[in-house]
Symmetry: C2
Subunit: 283 residues, 2 copies
């Protein structure tokens, strides 16, 4: 387990950063925060989500932390490190929550001081809400958590990052290369968001709620989406995401052709396979 | 409200027929069943889901019912009427639960005796399970229910069919022409099932459960699918379904192109619209 004496700093106290803070405070860790809004700090202190917080990073504050979790938009993570990495304590371990990896992890590791270490992580958890007031330690219950080590990482850092996942209370921890992560997440998360958005916008849908069943609701839950964040994530994984969209369209088109040709055998075989595979995803 | 003295016959005691029986018995109606398996009848009697049941339709039995609900696969509904409509009581009202309408309703109304009336209905409710043992009156809670009258229908029959929906406990009742129904359901229900099946089968997915978040689970809940039933429903609505699949693919392809061109504005606008529209579908 992550040493209880380790002080943990959350940079970016939104839905995800706030949920980290809540989960870690529950476990008894000392948690600090750097975030942009004074109102967020006030709220988080009031709620007991953090022990201390600031909107203006200073060396005396930042340098006190052993583990720093970045819960920022990708471009802000890079900007923050550019500007403030000099304040980090020597030997500090840095990690993140970013939904893309290849385009971030290597750049961070390259720009970073030699006496601190960055290890990428991605908790597969979230809500269709944003901001610290939506933070909820419960989002990690049953969740998957992916650590994405590179050759630049030490085994100690990888293990500490996995310990962090355990402290959050996730259900399963995996290691993937940044590239493999981006392929998996391009398919499992980014493609699904592209599908939901396309389904909701491909025709007039405002008046359809009187006729819908739960299928459409299920497929569009994630159509309520933070455009700033997801457009950034999509573009940072563009080749992989385009490939996954392509695979999906090809298959849907094959199904459409089977319908056109009254090809019941092909339809049934696809549904048999689909039913068999879905069983692997029961929680 | 539907007259409590009306006797209701369910033909086909599977998930949907069984759920009708449970909901109607709860409301105090006398409910009978015709279904293929003696074991199903035994179980339904034991559970108090029905008052009487038979596997072999006879005039003395069938002719005792005022309202007959067909919860059969479409082709079996047509076969049943072909064979047994002579047994129906004069003045009986017939309805169904079938997920496609244009290809069924007109054929049924054409083949039917002049002294009985068929009015199509579609409860937008279900589960990823089948059979009488999965029946659950709760599936109608919060559900939409669509009645699809044609020029052949009397206002009295339409109202009685809506009353049946109220007796089931659905949340909202609408009237649509069979054609409009098939367009809406082609989009809201059939397209979503096509998407779920394609997503689950477009690449190897068996090993992905360690990396997934809830998005992929949500989009594939309905990938567990009854191939016999859905392939029949897809083919009975093939033109409309192909059109809806086409609309969706065109939009997903536009999103893919926006990603390819780093076109953040288009991406954000789609997500803004998608978010705005999703709000209409909150239960």
């Amino acid at each position: 387990m992550l040493d209880k004496n380790k002080k943990i700093l959350i940079v970016g106290l939104g839905l995800m950063g706030g949920s980290y803070a809540l989960a870690l405070k529950e476990k008894g860790y000392r948690v600090g925060a750097v975030t942009r809004s004074p109102e967020t700090i006030r709220y988080a202190l009031e709620q007991g989500m953090i022990d201390e917080g600031t909107t203006a990073p200073e060396a005396a504050f930042v340098g006190a932390y052993d583990l720093v979790v970045f819960a920022l938009y990708p471009h802000l993570l890079l900007e923050w490190l550019e500007q403030y990495q000099g304040m980090l304590r020597p030997g500090a371990l840095l990690t993140d929550v970013t939904g893309v990896k290849s385009s971030i992890v290597y750049r961070v590791q390259q720009m970073l001081r030699g006496d601190v270490e960055f290890i990428g992580a991605h908790p597969m958890a979230g809500r269709e809400l944003s901001g610290v007031r939506s933070a909820d330690a419960g989002i990690f219950r049953g969740a998957n958590y992916i650590v994405t080590p590179t050759v630049a990482n030490t085994e100690a850092a990888i293990t500490a990052c996995e310990d962090l996942g355990r402290a959050l209370g996730v259900a399963r921890i995996s290691r993937l290369s940044p590239e493999k992560h981006d392929e998996m997440i391009g398919f499992l998360s980014q493609l699904t968001h592209c599908i939901a958005v396309s389904l909701m916008t491909c025709r007039d849908t405002e008046h359809l709620s009187a006729y819908t069943g739960d299928s459409f609701r299920d497929l569009t839950r994630i159509a309520r989406i933070n455009g700033d964040m997801w457009s950034e994530l999509f573009l940072l994984n563009k080749e992989e995401l385009q490939r996954q969209i392509g695979l999906f369209i090809t298959q849907l088109d094959a199904l459409k052709t089977a319908i056109e040709n009254d090809d019941t055998d092909t339809l049934k075989e696809m549904m048999r396979l689909s039913t068999e595979r879905r069983a692997f995803f029961d929680k």
